[in-house]
């Protein structure tokens, strides 16, 4: 008798679709259809299936589903850093847009490092995410190719580009940097310094805006720039303020490339008894949490990061679904927020 039921050679022991089918007295395919709410299943049967599934504690296997259907519901989202709360706001908006639509963001943090971004892509691309959301355009050639060859729809966030075939949602970092500098000029400031940290591409674009504006006014002086490659932070901002004031005591304003270092600058001014804005006006960038609470409240640029996240995710949704995308590059608006520090 060799028709004895031989045990399967590999078994996970888990409850499968087949188990549910047996319990509900239907075929596996009907279970699959009922559980996925596919229309065209007898409601009575569907109910019986759901009940059986519940009772057995059935949890569908996402890997099997992805393999069979050739589609995943994960979206890889690459951001530089979570300690820059800017990106937390972007991620929140991305999640709010993608999750209800049936996609799950898979967050990867590059630490502003192109090699790390490449490693993340190598690690996550095998999961065949349904879509890609990346920050800016600055990446290794290999990373670029990995993305292109994957054939996965990709939207770039935070910056804009008019290159053909590129999808992006952002705003002009250069213009925004120029606008806040112009505001300081309009307030009568003439010796405006620039303090920056991290020196990522967007920071450098703001620097460009700063220079463009001051050059146009014939007031640009490179000695008034203090650029630190260190990670942006409140305490670094304090140090930059001290150094700037010591080195160039005649400056009458400082534009900090990000609100966290601006807040640090304001606190240092307070400690050093440097009157703000009387002696030195201070402006930041991004309007982060707490900037409105500083003493004096910080003048800054409100950047549309939630909107970037929302619109970027919505654009990706359209690309993933094959719906037409009205605009492949969306340029959003920033807003000057003038408070007492300038």
């Amino acid at each position: 008798m060799n028709d004895a039921p031989r045990r399967p050679r590999r078994s996970s022991g888990r409850t499968t679709l087949a188990d549910v089918a047996r319990a509900a007295g239907v075929s596996p395919i009907t279970v699959s259809r009922a559980l996925r709410q596919e229309r065209g299943v007898d409601p009575v049967l569907a109910d019986k299936v759901r009940q059986a599934a519940d009772q057995l504690g059935y949890v569908p296997d996402a890997a099997a589903r992805a393999l069979a259907s050739q589609r995943s519901t994960q979206v890889l989202v690459l951001v530089p850093m979570l300690s820059n709360t800017l990106f937390v706001d972007v991620l929140e908006a991305v999640h709010r847009t993608l999750f209800p639509a049936g996609y799950q963001p898979l967050i990867g943090v590059t630490h502003y490092d192109t090699a790390e971004e490449e490693l993340l892509l190598r690690t996550y691309l095998p999961h065949r995410p349904a879509g890609l959301l990346v920050t800016g355009f600055d990446r290794s050639e290999t990373a670029r190719q990995l993305i292109a060859h994957s054939g996965i729809p990709c939207v770039h966030l935070m910056e804009t580009s008019t290159a053909p075939g590129v999808h992006c949602v952002g705003f002009s970092q250069v213009d925004a940097g120029a606008a806040i500098t112009q505001h300081l000029l309009d307030r009568g400031r003439r010796r405006i310094a620039f303090c920056a940290a991290q020196l990522d591409p967007r920071t450098l674009q703001r620097a460009e805006g700063y220079r463009r504006c001051l050059r146009a006014a014939g007031l640009y002086d490179p000695h008034r720039e203090l650029l630190s490659p260190e990670r942006s932070s409140i305490s670094l901002g304090a140090r930059l303020f001290e150094e700037m004031v010591q080195r160039m005591p005649d400056i009458d304003a400082i534009f900090f490339c990000n609100d966290d270092i601006a807040q640090g600058g304001l606190l240092a001014a307070n400690r050093m008894q440097v009157p703000v804005p009387q002696r030195i006006a201070v402006a930041g960038f991004n309007d982060l949490a707490g900037s409105d609470q500083m003493v004096p409240p910080l003048t800054t640029v409100r950047t549309p990061r939630a909107e970037v996240g929302q619109a970027g995710a919505a654009m990706l949704l359209a690309l993933m679904r094959g719906t037409p995308v009205p605009q492949s590059c969306i340029q959003l608006n920033y807003e000057l927020v003038v408070r007492a520090s300038s």
Copy 2:
């Protein structure tokens, strides 16, 4: 002639293991072994395989791999909120520990909402993560069961418990809350207020520590507690400070449950010209970025969040590998950081 090569009924068109095998002139299984660096493959063959894979731009399919091997390399990490930078530090440490070990964190944000946590579990458990890292013990019964029935190893972060079978890494929020309160007592403060936001379990545990300490000293007065369910933020801290000072003008110290509201309190004090610490001493919790830069610098409790993330991930690693875990519950130390605000 019915032996014409009939096209497969479903084809993804992607480069597969079989394509690489054909190109390298070996069997698929050898490609699989070579690419996974399994030992016992002729180095010459392995090299040929890798070359062929590179040339074809082969990207292995994680879903197929997961299905065949019945194992995934993702670890689901559930945290309450990314805007609380505390958890960003936890996540960083988790990533630094898991990623080099071959596991990828899959971040889920619960927004301090047990229903949302349940939804996240329902959504991500089908991916059969290799491990689970969750925050604290406060969750719905359903969530608890989903975790238990999944059979997936799980480590709880931020709090400790002596319940059998529970794995956790944290510190005593109650003791830490009591310790900072005791510090204020030691400084001679007698009418110590408590301001809190969010009111999540850990915040309430700190409140318990505050009460325990003051009751022991015979100085507890419930009117000096200001508990807001609103999300913790610098601006909320400013409002809480103002309200507290107005309502209970005789207080001589405030313990804020988190540094962000403490920073807001300090800024409000500055604005209101309330001398700190002369009239009111201020203490926070967590030693977040910027607390050391406040004017005056903020007294607080440095909590071991990076250590929690690191040790929690290390414990999970052991559980996933089936290695013995020396201690199922690790209690870490916090540290009083006394600065000029108290």
